[in-house]
């Protein structure tokens, strides 16, 4: 009873339960789900979404939405390519400049919504089209290889003992550079980025003025303003954060894959999965409440679902269908848990 109360008391409580149940189901149903090899396959299914959702949660708690994350995800690696491969700027400064451009886009989003007063759905939809278009323009619609992510090969001699004889065989080993290892291509690189970003942002949300004001604005914008909260500045800051996380994931994913396709359909899917991760994790689109850790678990849930369905050999055509149903069910459960919390249990 006490445990049940405690888990339900957590905003993320319901999705934690749903995720664990889903993982157990796939562990029982397939022999290959609960293996370290599959854990590695699972990582890219959720880490990128967790990072983008972490930024998006800050905008969603305001009661706003940022659709332009799809465009920043697509555009930023092309900008990075342009800076690094076309103009010869070193790798790390190229990343820094690309992040500055993301900041500028987030700033523009924030000003459009908080200062000019354009509805965030409309403003960021405009930005989504604009920057996905720009990605197509600067890529000339062509796939590009990402600088710094090249795989080099070297031959090493490995000695084997076969039937008591020493045999030396040459084997090829693949190497990736330090830059690539850090920015997405290392096996656990994206996971580490995700965990660090989620922890930092969750602490910011729960234990700093910035987080408190974000919740305050989403809950009662006029009241927050009357209390002296600088509403515009907080809103702009959150849109900047959202652009930055999306741009960073764009670069991480591009480096991981080694190449980038100018494919707005793919980036739009990322956009919707990131928002879904946030919503499943307990962040309301109406604003005023949400958690970054919840979004991470939401992303994990979506990742487990897709990975598990693939392992179970579900027809690829059914993947999206099942994902959709799962989102609807998870949201229904969330709302009932939310009501239970408001009604009697004592979380906060």
């Amino acid at each position: 009873m006490a445990l049940r109360e405690r888990v339900l008391g957590l905003r993320e409580g319901s999705i934690i339960v749903v995720t664990i149940v889903t993982a157990i189901y796939f562990s029982v149903e397939t022999s290959s789900f609960f293996t370290s090899a599959n854990f590695k396959t699972l990582l890219p299914y959720f880490a990128p979404y967790a990072i983008i959702a972490a930024g998006e949660v800050f905008v969603m708690i305001l009661g706003e939405i940022d659709l332009s994350i799809g465009a920043m995800y697509l555009f930023t690696p092309f900008l990075f390519y342009k800076l690094s491969a076309s103009w010869g700027i070193p790798l790390v400064p190229s990343v820094v400049i690309a992040m500055l451009v993301c900041t500028a886009v987030g700033l523009a989003n924030g000003v459009a919504v908080a200062v000019i007063g354009i509805n965030s759905f409309v403003a960021t939809l405009g930005m989504l089209f604009t920057f996905e278009g720009l990605a197509l323009i600067i890529s000339h619609g062509e796939t590009k290889s990402i600088p710094g992510a090249e795989v080099t090969h070297s031959e090493v001699s490995v000695s084997h003992i076969v039937n008591g004889h020493h045999i030396v065989l040459k084997e090829t080993v693949n190497h990736i550079g330090t830059f690539a290892k850090i920015f997405g291509a290392g096996t656990y690189s994206e996971l580490i980025w995700a965990v660090v970003i989620v922890i930092v942002l969750q602490v910011a949300l729960t234990f700093t003025r910035w987080g408190l004001y974000t919740v305050a604005i989403g809950s009662n914008k006029l009241g927050a303003a009357e209390a002296g909260v600088k509403v515009k500045s907080v809103m702009i800051r959150n849109f900047v954060l959202c652009s930055l996380t999306a741009g960073l994931v764009g670069i991480l994913e591009a480096v991981r894959a080694g190449s980038i396709q100018p494919d707005p359909a793919g980036s739009n899917e990322i956009l919707f999965f990131a928002i879904a991760a946030g919503v499943i994790g307990g962040t309301l689109l109406t604003g005023g409440s949400g958690t970054v850790v919840g979004a991470l678990i939401g992303a994990l849930f979506l990742g487990i679902l897709r990975d598990g369905l693939v392992l179970k050999g579900v027809n690829a055509n059914y993947l999206l269908f099942y994902t959709g149903l799962a989102v609807l069910i998870a949201m229904t459960v969330n709302i009932y848990v939310q009501r239970a919390r408001r009604g009697h249990s004592g979380g906060g």
């Binding site: 700093t208 003025r209 408190l212 009357e226 209390a227 909260v229 004592g346 906060g348």
Partner: protein, 285 residues
Amino acid sequence: MADPVIEHDVVGPSSAPDDVLRVEHIAKRFGPVTALRDVNLHLKKGEVLGLLGDNGAGKSTLIKIISGFQKQDSGQMWLHGEPYQPKSVGDARAKGIDTVYQDLALIDELSVYHNLFLRRERLLKLLPLLDNRRMKREARTALDEIGIHIPRIDVSVARLSGGQRQAIAVARTVNSNADIILLDEPLAAMGAKEGAQILDLVARLKDEGRVSIIMILHNYVHVLQACDRVSMIQDGAIALDKPTAETSVEELTDIVVNEYRRAREATRAEAAATNAMPANGKTNI
């Protein structure tokens, strides 16, 4: 055409040597609507001033101007004898003027103690993180001091009753170390018992003599009971300014009723003047 402005007595600027706040000739329009025409007001140290007036008379607009949420079109204010023009709510607060608004600037999703400390959060010494433990402790002390009983201060204020919410809003202002407190209908949404608690709280603050209070009220009995002086706004100007000892519920009621009659007659006169004009409207004037 009859002059649409209703003629009645308007209280001019006045002052006392121990004024903490003076407001002179304040006017404010919202597009075609004149909210304040010519408002003159003063507040002495340690005084509780009751502000009366019908809905739409301009009470809330005046409060918002004094507290820095809106800017007047014309007129001047003085705080402790110095010219006073707040740039923002934060600026007004920094100068010691704090407000409890009618629409309750409480944040439903935040806990009682986070609401109490909104914009004055306590931080840890080493890191820029919220010191929740200290805020909880200080919130408990502050609420106890002013006699407000809230069973749990770590629940969101959405779960509290209207009266408890108002009490917390008042407590937040009192707790802010302001020396001028503006209360916009502090007794709205309150039961009799909770209302009495707030009036007791105001009386206690008056006895301390540290803060001066302007309080918007609707109930004349409350005004006479809790305030030292009463100012009545009518039609965007102050129509009466008297110590409560020198007035009565009857006098206050008479002013409002007379105002209503005058306004009705003015409307009739205007209608008559309009009707007297040629109905076909072809006459050139």
